[in-house]
Amino acid sequence: LAKILQIRDMAKCIGCYSCMLACARVVRHSFTPAKAALQIRTAGGFQGRFLGEICLGCPDAPCAQVCNSGALELRPGGGLRFSAAKCTGCRACIGACIVQVLHFDQESRQPLACIQCGTCARFCPHGILAMEERKYANTSD
């Protein structure tokens, strides 16, 4: 099975945003954490909880299924491959994401797709993000 990005325990998150900065930096060459494929947010301010919005690496990848240009393709074992050159900016994938974590980037006119590179996990100071095999895999995958 392929390793995919997973949140081990969100309750341990300190909200430093190092993961978002890492994704934006390394994958998007941007200083702006809004460009990251994952988003950590507060819910109800800092007195509330941190929420982690990450690509769940669906085994059936509905976003890739609706992509008719071949830009998004299902990676064996879950997660995506993204080919920017093939992307037309049609946004069909955005609407297809069943957990609504796939966002559209207005500058590049392309989805901010998680490519399962694990960069964010490398910069998580508390090991909350990790690249791991899906623990309870659906055996029919």
Partner: protein, 575 residues
């Protein structure tokens, strides 16, 4: 030198208009302290009193903000209603990130809004919104604003409580609940401008110029912050690790500094807080350390089994100000006082030092219960809660004066010998020796962090007056550079000059070591000129007798030695 352009958002509250200025000339000041001081100077602050509509508030971040580890602060500069002098305060949490996302390196707020107002500052403009229904509210304002302004989960909210609205000279501005522009009364300046809150949000893209250089430098600093022991203590016990250390050395101020030994101090140590009530640590955006300790304050409010839980931020300074300084040794009591201080929107350090003076003044008959309206005594919170409320409500002459701070209250009622201020500013929690005494007194904003005098006491005791002053001044100049870059001072060991230069170079800003040092000098002079024009006179500073009566961590402080240091400082200024 190769500098960057500073984009300044200029907000006129009275006319409800904004202007955007692109300032190449400000680049040499980098950001933060330097840029804010320069923009503040342009508004001729000495000409009008602190709460006059013409006074300005300047907020500034820096070119490294958020995009390098632990570069998390935003600097606010204003004229302090507490001291009448130069006001500068720093706060973290998410403000630097949000300002960057909105697209501004500095924000100037001028004028007085015609009605209670809050500002929504985003990437597509500034909105002046009606805050009439929010006026008078405390902590609950945050939950209301969350429904009204975009940027869910990533925005930053600055707000004042009733203390700022009522012009208490040491009212604070809270930033995202858990950090504050605490010291010197920015909250009262907000209040005088009819400004209840400012929400900043945005996601403007900033492409990286030199990806390879930036990535390498980011990783080098990240690894130094996280994989060495330099900053570990700030996450673990956090600043409260100081409680037992300082107590053991005799540097923890107790009961209005009447004493330096506190029976039961173990109950309010960093260790005890961590073991008994620490709920979690959180971080400012871009800081992988996470030094903000959130404690759980659980209390029973009903006759039966009815409980409520509050999540309150604690730090060393709070444990000092509303703990040891008031003879309090129970965590739940400290939380009770923190909770009230937060809801009212007071600076906790000044509030605690005020309470200490009130307690002793009442016991000595300097004031009576006719003034305070309640009994107060060390170790008990009931009276303190009432006094805190009255500082804001100001029901009589006494409280109207107390709301101006300890210095003013003692000038009118007596008890200056035990009014624990330095440079007119309520003391920080370090009775470490002459370094702190002089450092906070002569520091640009009378903060213990201006020059770290307490650290000099601890690491370099027994310096000659000249050597101590040289060290304080050199430290203040370098810290002026660090805070112009908005680097959290907890990371000052990481951001050595060479690291600072490389980080700047990685984002296209070229400074030499000499240029960085001369910037420190320039900012020192600029702030000095500003505060001298606003009335600071190093010849007129006062030291309460108490500082010399209660032995410090360096033993009894010799008043003659402190006067010699002050004279050395004055000579330094005329060099």
């Amino acid at each position: 030198m190769q500098t960057h352009q500073i984009k300044v958002l200029d907000i006129d509250l009275e006319r409800e208009k904004i202007a955007i200025h692109y300032r190449d000339d400000l680049g040499e000041f980098l950001g933060g302290t330097g840029v804010a001081a320069k923009l503040f100077a342009e508004a001729a602050p000495a000409a009008t009193p602190p709460l006059h509509p013409d006074q300005v508030i300047v907020l500034a971040n820096g070119p490294l903000s958020t995009i390098f580890p632990v570069v998390t602060k935003v600097v606010a500069v204003f004229r302090s209603p507490l001291t009448g002098g130069y006001g500068e305060s720093h706060a973290g949490m998410r403000l630097a990130l949000a300002m960057r996302g909105a697209g501004y390196q500095a924000i100037v707020i001028r004028g007085q809004a015609r009605r209670p107002t809050y500002l929504a500052i985003g990437p597509n403009g500034v909105e002046f919104r009606n805050a009439s229904a929010l006026w008078g509210l405390g902590d609950s304002v945050g939950s209301i604003l969350r429904r009204l302004v975009p940027g869910t989960g990533h925005r930053s909210t600055l707000k004042i409580g009733p203390a700022g609205e009522k012009g208490v000279s040491f009212a604070s501005v809270s930033v995202d609940t858990y950090r504050h522009f605490g010291r010197l009364g920015l909250g009262a300046v907000f209040g005088a401008k009819n400004l209840k809150a400012v929400v900043v949000y945005g996601d403007r893209n900033e492409p990286i110029g030199d990806f390879k250089a930036y990535k390498a430098m980011y990783e080098q600093i990240y690894n130094q912050v996280l994989k060495t022991s330099v900053m570990k203590k700030y996450h673990d016990l956090g600043t409260p690790a100081n409680v037992l250390n300082l107590h053991a050395s005799g540097g923890l101020p107790i009961r209005n500094l009447q004493e330096n030994v506190l029976a039961g101090v173990e109950g309010i140590s960093g260790e005890a807080f961590a073991e008994e009530s620490l709920m979690r640590q959180v971080a400012c955006s871009g800081c992988p350390i996470g030094c903000i300790h959130i404690g759980l304050h659980r209390s029973r409010f009903g006759a039966e089994y009815e409980f409520e839980s509050r999540f309150l931020s604690y730090d060393y300074e709070l444990i000092f100000a509303v703990g040891s300084f008031l003879g309090i040794t129970r965590q739940s009591q400290i939380y009770e006082l923190i909770d009230r201080v937060e809801d009212l929107g007071l600076d906790v350090m000044s509030a605690g030092v005020c309470l200490g003076w009130v307690t002793e003044a009442l016991a000595r008959g300097v004031i009576t219960e006719a003034e305070t309206g309640t009994a107060v005594q060390f170790g008990e919170t009931a009276g303190y809660l009432q006094v805190l409320d009255n500082m804001v409500l100001q029901p009589n002459d006494f409280y109207q004066v107390l709301a101006r701070g300890v210095e003013k209250a003692a000038q009118k009622y007596g008890g200056l010998d035990f009014a624990m201020t330095l440079g007119g500013h309520e003391m920080a929690g370090y009775h470490t020796g002459p370094g702190h005494l002089l450092g906070q007194t002569v520091g640009m904003r009378h903060s213990h962090l201006d020059n770290g005098g307490y650290g000099i006491d601890q690491k370099s005791p027994n310096l000659s007056p000249e050597a101590l002053v040289d060290k304080l001044v050199a430290e203040e100049k370098w810290r002026g550079v660090l805070t112009s870059l908005c680097i959290c001072l907890f990371a000052r060991e990481v951001y050595q000059p060479e690291t600072v230069l490389s980080a700047l170079a990685a984002v296209g800003i070229q400074f030499s070591r000499e240029e960085l040092d001369s910037l420190g000098e320039k900012i020192f002079r600029l702030r000095q000129e500003l505060r001298l024009a606003m009335g600071f006179d190093p010849a007129q500073v006062r030291f309460a007798q108490r500082f010399f009566q209660t032995p410090s961590a360096s033993g009894p402080i010799d008043p003659a030695a402190v006067q010699a240091m002050l004279a050395a400082y004055r000579r330094h200024l005329t060099r």
